[in-house]
Symmetry: none
Subunit: 224 residues, 2 copies
DNA sequence: GCAATGCTTCGGCTACCATCGAAGCATGAA
DNA sequence: TTCATGCTTCGATGGTAGCCGAAGCATTGC
C-alpha cells in the first residue's frame, strides 16, 4: 500500500525534503529524517519499490528524487488534507518566515525572492522557459554582463546546465537553478547584497538594506 | 499523519467501500474490512479525528461518509499511484468482472454500464450536468416517457433529488443516482432487461440477452 | 419494565516493523 | 595495493498499534 509508505514519519520527512524538486543523497535524507544511514537505506529501498522515488548513481553517492509530478501532486494533496484538519505536519514546508522569504537551495536562491527573480527574468524576456527547461536570451546575456558582471563563459560546466527550473517548496513555483542561478547567488554575496545566515546549518539568506534595494531595482515586481 | 490513517489495510478497505459516495454503517464497514465491530469502531474514530470521514447518527445506527470530494480526490490519487506501479491493492475496486460491468449502487445502476448510460444521456442533451448537479432537460423528459414510460411526477420525493451524480468507484467516473436513477433501474427490472444476481448479498446486476440489446440501443456508445 | 440491536470502551495479547550496531560491498583517492 | 567514504545487508531489540473477548452504554421495540 502506497499510503503506508508515506505514513511513516521518517519516510514522510524524506519525501518532504524531496518536495523542492532537487535530488538528495541517501545520507542527506537520513539526516533530514533524523535517522541513521542504515535505517534510511531500508526506507529508501521501500520508497523506490513503491515507485515514489527514483535513484541516480553518481560516484559513490546515490541521489534520490521524486519520480514525477504525479507523486508530488499526491503528496501535496495529502498535505492539504492534513493542513485543513489542523493536523499540519511539523515539516510541511519552511515555517520560519525568513526561510520562506529567501534561502539557499543547494547553491542558489530560493523562496519568495527566488521565485520573484525568475518571474521578472521571464517577464523581461531575459530568459525563455518551457517547462523545466530555461534558456538565456541575448538580452539576458547583456543584462547579466551589465548589471552583475556575469559573462556566459563563466557559466559553462561539463554536466550542469546553465539554467534550470527548480520547484520552490514554500512558494510552490519555480525559481532559477543551474550554474547561472549559482553564479547570481555568488555575485549577490560578493556585492554584499546578501549573505547566508551565520547560524550553522541554517539555509536562511539575509539581504542587507542596500542589497534589498538593488535587488528590487533589478528584479522587483512592485509588490513592496 | 493523514497518510498513515489511509495506510492501514483495514482502514483502506473502509475508505474504499465509502468511495461510491454512499454512507455506510459502522457494522457494514466492519464487514467490508473483515474485522470485528469493536476494532472497526477504533478505526472509525481515528478516521473521523483525521477529518477523512464524517458520522451521521440515525437511530441506533451510525452512518459514515467521506468528508468531501477533496478526500475522495486524494484517495483516487493514491490509488492511481498504486495502480501504475503494479502495487494495485487487492480491494482497489470490484475485482469481479461482472461487478465492474453492472452492479447495484444502493438502488441504481453502477459500473461500466451505469457510467455509459449517464455519458449517453449527457451526449444526447437529455440531462445537463454541472459537477455533482444533474438536471433533466425537456428532451430528457420526453425521452423517458417515450422509451421507459417514466413520467416526472413519479420522481418527486421530499428529500431526495431527481438526479444526482454518483462517483463510480470501478470506473472512476460518474453514474446516475437520485430518484431517476432508481426509477430507471426499477424499470429495467420490470422490463426483464436486467435483474439482481440471486446470490445473497451480491450486488451484481445481470442483463438478459434482449435487455442488453435494448439498453445498447438507447444508451450504447458503440463500443460493442 | 425487559430484551435485542448497534456501537463503544477496556484490557491483554500478538505481530509487525522501525531502529540501530556490526559487518559487508562498492567506489574513489592516495 | 591500501585506506576512506558512502551505502547496503544482517541480526537482534523494542515499541507501537491492530486485534479480539468481555463488558458497558445507548437506542429501539415489545
Amino acid at each position: 500500500m502506497i499510503a503506508s509508505l508515506v505514513g511513516d514519519p521518517a519516510r514522510a520527512n524524506m519525501l518532504t525534503a524531496l518536495m523542492n524538486g532537487r535530488a538528495l543523497t541517501a545520507s542527506e535524507l537520513a539526516q533530514e529524517a533524523g535517522i541513521t544511514p542504515q535505517t534510511a537505506s531500508s526506507h529508501l529501498s521501500k520508497l523506490e519499490a513503491g515507485g515514489l522515488i527514483e535513484p541516480e548513481k553518481q560516484g559513490r553517492h546515490r541521489y534520490y528524487r521524486l519520480t514525477d509530478d504525479d507523486v508530488a501532486g499526491v503528496l501535496e494533496g495529502l498535505a492539504g488534507l492534513a493542513a485543513r484538519t489542523g493536523h499540519m505536519r511539523v515539516r510541511t514546508g519552511p515555517k520560519d518566515p525568513a526561510l520562506r522569504r529567501a534561502r539557499i537551495c543547494y547553491d542558489h536562491l530560493a523562496g519568495d525572492l527566488g521565485v520573484q527573480m525568475l518571474d521578472t527574468l521571464r517577464a523581461k524576456n531575459l530568459v525563455k522557459q518551457r517547462k523545466q527547461e530555461i534558456e538565456l536570451t541575448a538580452d539576458g546575456e547583456r543584462f547579466l554582463a551589465k548589471h552583475l558582471q556575469i559573462s556566459p563563459d563563466m557559466l559553462t560546466h561539463p554536466r550542469r546546465p546553465v539554467c534550470k527550473a527548480c520547484l520552490d517548496w514554500s512558494e510552490r513555483r519555480h525559481h532559477l537553478a543551474g550554474t547561472l542561478g549559482a553564479a547570481m547567488m555568488q555575485r549577490f554575496a560578493e556585492l554584499k547584497w546578501a549573505a547566508r545566515d551565520a547560524t550553522p546549518g541554517s539555509r536562511v539568506v539575509n539581504f542587507t538594506r542596500t542589497g534589498e534595494k538593488q535587488f528590487a531595482a533589478l528584479f522587483g515586481d512592485g509588490r513592496d
